[in-house]
């Protein structure tokens, strides 16, 4: 098993466009809480409604990097140092060596390639630094753009829940996609 290649940068948390960095309370307050509450962002997620700003801060303070079963990163643009989104690795299973990934990008930064790059960085980190065997995620049938990004990075469709998720008065499918280490597409 040889290492997954990475850009010239020396940090395992840097890609071509983004760096994954630790969250801090100030960034949660000024960026995460408002950007996450954008209704367009939430349509692609499985949360039912906007969250109070204090909820994001309480969530962050309850986590603070202390838990071994999850990690949450700020996605930062390398060129401008601006925060552009958040990416998480959760439900880390020590026995099964797998984990669920979740991410969102602030609406003003959609279509700029950040999600693709952030996913590549996190998957490489999960496989080569955390020693995981597999990563997986869920995507709504109403979000084909996200599914396209996941496919491009190497996620494969594994399960489609006939049980459907309510979005805008319609029920849409929920897909589970998975990626094994040698499937990551750089």
């Amino acid at each position: 098993m040889s290492p997954i290649p990475r850009p010239a940068s020396t940090s395992p948390l840097e890609g071509e466009l983004v760096r994954l960095t630790a969250l801090d309370e100030e960034t949660v307050r000024t960026f995460i809480a408002p950007a996450f509450n954008d209704p367009e962002v939430q349509l692609g997620l499985v949360l039912p409604f906007p969250q109070p700003g204090q909820g994001a801060i309480d969530w962050f303070n309850g986590w603070r990097g202390l838990k071994e079963d999850s990690a949450h990163f700020l996605i930062q643009c390398l060129a401008t140092q601006e925060p552009v989104g958040q990416i998480s690795i959760e439900s880390i299973s020590p026995r099964d060596r797998n984990s669920e990934i979740g991410l969102w990008i602030a609406r003003e930064h959609w279509h700029e390639g950040y999600a693709t790059d952030a996913l590549r960085v996190l998957c490489r980190f999960a496989f080569d630094e955390m020693g995981l065997h597999k990563v997986w995620l869920s995507v709504l049938g109403s979000n084909p753009r996200a599914r396209g990004v996941y496919e491009r990075v190497g996620f494969q469709l594994e399960l489609t829940s006939g049980d459907e998720h309510m979005v805008g008065g319609k029920r849409v499918a929920v897909h589970t996609m998975g990626m094994l280490r040698d499937e990551l597409v750089l």
Binding site: R95, D96, T160, S161, G162, H165
Partner: protein
């Protein structure tokens, strides 16, 4: 039928600390654990109680599976991750090894699904099962579950990564209830 929680062979009862403790010996069976209890290892009664309490705090509903004939507890089932927007819930179940292949699991799953649909107003129920656990898969199929997909190399047990089969059921698909 007297109670919506009575099947033909088994009755579902609310789990309490005493019954969780009483099931510890059955749940610690080394053959059962890799098949049905993902991520759960042989554990002391206190650890089983702590796990159960954590699941209940996260919103899970637990049922002891009891043999009607002699009120003996045979196993444990739960419904968890109730999701309003998806209108579904996840099902987990295990039956102690001495009671395999006698129809108890099938009866318990059927009874639990009927209760979830008719009394808890859940629209669909899903579960994961090791793809090589043909005994369990046959029971789920007989109850009316169908396959939704295969999670590749999704669990590690008995020395290798194993595929997990995802299955689900809705009320019209439930057989014999």
């Amino acid at each position: 039928m007297d109670s919506p929680l009575d099947g033909e062979l088994v009755r579902l009862r609310a789990a309490d600390e005493g019954t969780i403790r009483a099931l510890t010996v059955l749940s610690n069976d080394p053959e059962l654990i890799p098949l049905a209890l993902a991520g759960i290892f042989p554990a002391a009664e206190a650890a089983r109680v702590a796990w159960w309490r954590g699941m209940v705090e996260a919103g899970a509903t637990f049922f002891i599976i009891e043999r009607i004939a002699d009120a003996r507890p045979l196993g444990l089932a739960n419904l968890r991750d109730f999701d309003t927007r998806r209108d579904n819930a996840g099902l987990g179940i295990w039956i102690g090894k001495p009671f395999w292949d006698q129809g108890f699991g099938k009866d318990a799953v059927r009874t639990l699904c009927r209760y979830a649909f008719d009394d808890m107003h859940v629209r669909s129920i899903y579960l994961d099962v090791r793809a090589d656990n043909s005994r369990a898969i046959a029971a789920y199929r007989a109850v009316g579950f169908s396959e939704e997909g295969l999670l590749r190399e999704h669990t590690f047990a008995d020395g290798a990564y194993r595929d997990m089969l995802g299955m689900a059921i809705t009320r019209p698909e439930l057989q014999g209830a």
